[in-house]
């Protein structure tokens, strides 16, 4: 009997459908104005963090006691801090610290959360143990657990990342797990099992690819939360050690002179606010796009 359609034709139709679907998603994302605004905001912040060292004439560490606490002006357009350091270059460098931490935490928690979530969804016995541990970890308010871990590990950038990974991994694992549980019950997974597919093949090729949407959305929010908690930790003196510019450190310095130098609080504060706002808008947009169920109530 002759085939009505060849395998190549089928594949080309499939890839065309995929492309159409992707184009549709991109179009819908860009039609969401808030999400678009969020992504533009983030792009600007990332670009500033990367390229600005090439056009600022001051380094973030350059002391100039004569020019301490200068208000914003032509030379230092965000003003100077209480040691005469240029606030703009310190904020831009702080952006780099925040972005590195946020990105690293989002990536590492996604990988760990995915492994833990997938395996506990697939193996019932593992599930009981892993989910009790994550329940226990989630009983701690995030910021408090982060402070406590930092108290033990000591203030360093790497330790901030470790602390935040410990704090956020359980919630990622839970998200992945609940999405994976739904996928696992689908008939095609049963069919694969009946065909004798190995557990790791099913977990990584069939379930993992179907839990990516909620995972990506949550990673965006964890990025934002990491920026907030890093700033809080540094502000409290338990984050990035002092001479290094991080937004939290800048706010800490700013608080000591809050009655004399408003710019030292306002500018780093706005930097934090804008990047978190941008990430939240971006995440909201992604969620509306990738995960229509949660959006039903809003419409």
């Amino acid at each position: 009997m002759q085939n009505l359609i060849t395998t190549e034709q089928l594949n080309s139709i499939k890839s065309e459908m995929k492309k159409k679907h992707r184009d549709l998603l991109v179009k819908r994302f860009f039609s969401n104005k808030l999400a678009l605004f969020g992504s533009i905001l983030m792009t600007v912040i990332v670009l500033l963090a990367i390229i600005s060292p090439f056009f600022t004439s001051f380094t973030p560490y350059e002391l100039d006691p004569v020019k301490r606490l200068q208000p914003p002006g032509a030379e230092h357009f965000f003003g100077t801090d209480n040691y005469g350091r240029d606030l703009f270059s310190r904020i831009v460098n702080g952006a780099r610290v925040s972005l590195i931490i946020g990105f690293a935490v989002a990536i590492i928690t996604s990988i760990l959360g995915m492994i833990i979530g997938l395996y506990s969804a697939y193996y019932k016995k593992l599930d009981g143990v892993l989910m009790r541990i994550s329940d226990g970890l989630m009983a701690f308010p995030a910021i408090l657990l982060a402070i406590a871990i930092m108290a033990s590990l000591g203030p360093r950038l790497e330790n901030v990342i470790i602390a935040l990974v410990i704090v956020f991994t359980p919630s990622v694992a839970r998200t992945v797990r609940s999405a994976a549980l739904v996928v696992k019950e689908q008939t095609y997974v049963e069919a694969l099992k009946a065909q004798g597919a190995s557990a790791s093949r099913i977990i990584w090729l069939n379930i993992a690819t179907n839990v990516l949407s909620p995972l990506i959305v949550q990673a965006t929010f964890i990025f934002a939360d990491s920026i907030i908690i890093e700033a809080a930790l540094s502000f409290l003196g338990a984050g990035i050690p002092a001479p290094d510019p991080s937004w939290g450190n800048l706010l800490y310095d700013g608080k000591t002179v809050i009655f004399n130098a408003w710019w030292m609080t306002l500018f780093p504060g706005i930097a934090i606010m804008l990047s978190v706002f941008g990430l939240n808008l971006f995440g909201d947009g992604l969620r509306d796009l990738l995960d229509p169920h949660t959006n039903k109530a809003k419409k």
Binding site: L144, L251, K255, T265, L266
Partner: protein, 316 residues
């Protein structure tokens, strides 16, 4: 209902056990010798050895855990090395301001957010709705300590309306007490308010479209009655959940906001202890907060049964 309560209580045991293990491990993940870290670089080897002995660090880890956990179960959280007093005592001495602040922020958030959420749901899609939701998204994006700093700049430095630092206990008069807490409570409560408003809006929307609401409307029930009695009551469980689940976050957030406004609460206790590496205080405070968070959630879960009979009759 009894079976439900019992099941919930039993499910707490593993969670609380994990909480205890995590808190215990906090001291042991320190790179190097905890005793040396606590005493600082100027301590002599003899002093370090003495403290190791006193803290029981020379015993096997499992043995240390058993004796520490035994103490915790009897209400003994150890002693603060620097304040020379039991951790439990230090904690309760600092609890007042933190609770006052957290409760005031919570009340503020509820009073502002629920009406706004209801209005936004009622006039969904209107400019009012979009403005509220835009502001609430902004509210979620501004961390409480940052909002606190902004409020100090605006109200304290520019307008000079309210005190920006310090704390007066309730004994100094109610207004004095409240006056010092207004700005911190706004700072702390705004994110809470944003969350509650969003949750109120979306769960009201879920219910407003239900058939029984249409029925009530077609029977000519007054619109205000529909919104308050028929909708809000049924939409209340998700709202209550978010209020309960975020109360722990609120207490933890209070700890950070306290530092901004120099309020002598749990936050200052913890931060000072972090600086001094006073592990017993950090462990004890974190443990108490986590346990009370778990218990608050238990109470909330049990309250579901009171508000919504479907919970206590039907599913677990």
């Amino acid at each position: 209902m009894k079976g439900y309560i019992l099941r919930r209580l039993l499910s707490l045991i593993p969670v609380l056990f994990v909480v205890a293990v995590v808190v215990f491990l906090l001291m042991h993940i320190t790179p190097g010798d905890p005793a040396a870290v606590i005493l600082g670089p100027e301590a002599s080897p003899n002093e370090i050895a003495e403290l190791r002995e006193a803290l029981g660090l020379n015993r096997p880890v499992t043995e240390q855990f058993v004796s520490w956990f035994g103490g915790v179960l009897q209400g003994d959280l150890g002693n603060s090395i620097f304040m020379k007093q039991p951790v439990l005592q230090a904690f309760f001495e600092h609890l007042g301001p933190t609770l006052s602040l957290a409760i005031m922020a919570q009340i503020l958030a509820i009073v502002v957010a629920i009406p706004l959420g209801i209005l936004a749901a009622k006039f969904r899609g209107s400019i009012l709705d979009q403005t509220f939701m835009g502001i609430s998204l902004l509210g979620i994006s501004v961390p409480s300590f940052l909002l606190g700093l902004f409020l100090i700049l605006l109200v304290g430095v520019e307008l000079k309306w309210l005190p920006v630092a310090g704390y007066k206990p309730l004994n100094d008069g109610l207004w004095n007490h409240i006056k010092y807490l207004i700005l911190p409570a706004i700072a702390l409560g705004s994110m809470q308010a944003a969350l509650i408003a969003r949750m109120t809006r979306s769960s009201m929307l879920d219910v407003l479209n239900a058939n029984y609401i249409k029925t009530a409307r077609s029977k000519g029930v007054k619109e205000s009655l529909i919104v308050i009695k028929h909708t809000l009551r049924n939409a209340f469980i998700p709202i209550l959940t978010i209020i309960g689940h975020t109360f722990g976050t609120l207490v933890a957030g209070a700890a950070v906001v306290e530092t901004v406004f120099n309020i002598p609460g749990i936050g200052q206790l913890i931060i000072n202890s972090v600086e001094r590496r006073d592990f017993a205080v950090i462990q004890g405070s974190v443990l108490l907060i986590a346990v009370s968070y778990v218990l608050i959630n238990l109470v909330i879960d049990l309250l579901y049964g009171v508000i919504d009979p479907r919970v206590r009759l039907g599913r677990k």
